[in-house]
């Protein structure tokens, strides 16, 4: 595969053409914090010295990262999920009447860092 040369943090690195900057960095052993690609971001926060919050934690594990919504819309093209409400009321929801399309692939389950996306009996 064709290689490209790029410079990250003053270091010259090589990566296959078409890879993302993150992939190129990871390949060369350069760590870039990536919250949305990290399965246990709370542990990650600890690594960076954030162990205690000064704020009252939210009552949900959902960090509203939106990976489930985007995966459903952009990768599966099912559009079964959306963000309901705005501002502090924002939350991912199933679009009314989309229960038929959804619940089948379950591919968003594994994407959810908080393990918040689960099957409901209804």
């Amino acid at each position: 595969m064709e290689q490209v040369t790029l410079e990250i943090n003053g270091k010259s690195v090589q990566a296959p053409k078409g890879s993302t900057i993150l992939q190129a960095a990871t390949l060369s052993g350069i760590k870039i914090p990536t919250l949305c690609l990290w399965p246990a971001w709370q542990q990650y926060a600890g690594e960076y010295g954030v162990t205690k919050s000064r704020f009252r934690p939210a009552m949900t594990d959902c960090s509203l990262c939106g990976l489930c919504v985007r995966y459903c819309a952009e990768v599966k093209k099912d559009n079964a999920l959306y963000f309901k409400g705005r501002g502090i009321d924002r939350k991912p929801e199933l679009i009314d009447g989309s229960h038929d399309q959804c619940g089948q692939c379950r591919e968003c389950f594994a994407l959810c860092s908080g393990g918040w996306v689960v099957a409901s009996r209804s």
Binding site: R54, L64, G87, I88, D89, R90
Partner: protein, 385 residues
């Protein structure tokens, strides 16, 4: 145009129809070969849809959420095409500049802000409504000369400019010449051109809480700094106004403000801390009174005030307050004595307003000094013999 403004839509629609009838809109205008048309797009109505990129998303049929702005609208805007996006007021200036020339327009205003500005002057001011003044007029002239000052002999306290994400400016800044730069420097902004005059009966912490609550629900919620910053700000302000503020709250609000200004995706999040920052900057003592003394100096925050009847002033027990009270918290002890049951009182202030001026017997007190529980004298009932 927002769905909630049916009258404005009707007027604009009529104006477009008339312009078309005169041949001033459409194909080949007045035989010039130039074609131009105007179309109204109705928005479902969200504060954030006024943000330029959210506006374009909404017109394209997407959710009205802002998008990152590393590509300029003038290069790639609506439908990915070069777009000239401007405020309606800016467009409204154009015909005058075309007809009378740029020099005429530039003769009005300040170094950085030319021409005139329309303000929506409301609140505790005698003359309310839309006012058009030259840029650079002082706040004092706008509020007192154009607006006629504060009614009912109350004292001017502050003027809030720029809409919900603007800031408050105190009386020490009344001689500020109003233009874009001066308002920004003072910690507020021109924003929507709104001006709300506030008198001494306005609590500045409650004012900040009110605007932050609005913005927390009107933020789109897409980016973390704005959504979570506003969520935490609202919790802190809710606590302070409920008399549960603690040392360090003001500093935490300041830190959150800085972070939101730096990291938010669009202008909504970047300017959302303005109500908090400006009230802390000019009225820090009010925050401290709420936090340290559990006292609301303006007597607004319900948790920090109590109403009581001054028995010496209440000479007739007319009962105006009893009728005004929605929760039956005012009881008749005997024919000449009324008392407020603190446990029932929701601190709405209806009794305070209802008490006739000749008595002024309802007192507004700091909550700590109210008698709790209210001693209700037992009626002496003569045993029947």
């Amino acid at each position: 145009m927002r769905q909630e403004y049916p009258l404005a839509r009707k007027h604009t629609q009529r104006a477009i129809e008339q312009a078309r009838e005169y041949g001033l809109l459409g194909r080949d205008i007045l035989g010039s070969g130039f074609s131009f048309d105007v179309k109204i797009h109705r928005g479902a109505g969200a504060f954030v849809s006024g943000e330029s990129t959210a506006l374009m998303n909404a017109i394209e049929g997407h959710v009205g959420e802002p998008r990152p702005k590393y590509v300029h609208t003038s290069e790639k805007g609506l439908w990915g095409k070069p777009t000239c996006l401007n405020n309606v007021e800016t467009w409204a200036n154009v015909p005058f500049i075309v007809n009378r020339g740029a020099d005429w327009f530039r003769a009005m205003g300040t170094r950085g802000s030319k021409g005139t500005k329309i303000f929506s002057l409301v609140g505790r001011v005698k003359n309310t409504g839309l006012v058009e003044v030259p840029m650079g007029m002082t706040l004092r002239d706008i509020v007192f000369k154009v607006g006629g000052g504060v009614p009912k002999g109350r004292r001017f306290k502050a003027v809030q400019t720029g809409g919900p994400s603007g800031g408050v400016l105190p009386d020490s800044l009344l001689d500020l010449p109003v233009d874009f730069d001066k308002l920004d420097e003072a910690g507020s902004m021109m924003g929507s051109g709104g001006m709300i005059v506030m008198d001494e009966d306005t609590c500045m912490v409650d004012t900040a809480r009110y605007y932050v609550n609005f913005l927390a629900h009107e933020s789109c919620g897409k980016c973390v700094p704005c959504r979570e910053g506003l969520r935490q700000m609202l919790r802190i302000l809710d606590r302070i106004t409920a008399g549960e503020g603690k040392e360090g709250d003001v500093e935490l609000l300041e830190e959150l403000s800085e972070f939101m200004e730096m990291a938010s995706l669009c202008a909504l999040g970047k300017t959302a801390p303005n109500p908090v920052r400006s009230t802390i900057r000019y009225f820090r003592d009010e925050y401290e009174a709420h936090i340290r003394e559990k006292r609301c100096p303006a007597g607004v925050c319900a948790a920090l005030i109590a109403y009581e009847i001054d028995q010496e002033k209440c000479t007739s027990a007319c009962g105006a307050c009893v009728r005004a009270c929605a929760v039956d918290a005012i009881q008749k002890v005997d024919a000449h004595t009324l008392t407020i049951v603190q446990e029932k009182c929701i601190k709405c202030g209806a009794c305070y307003t209802a008490c006739p001026d000749k008595f002024r017997a309802v007192l507004k007190l700091p909550a700590a000094s109210a008698p709790r529980p209210t001693p209700i004298p037992q009626l002496q009932i003569e045993p029947r013999v």
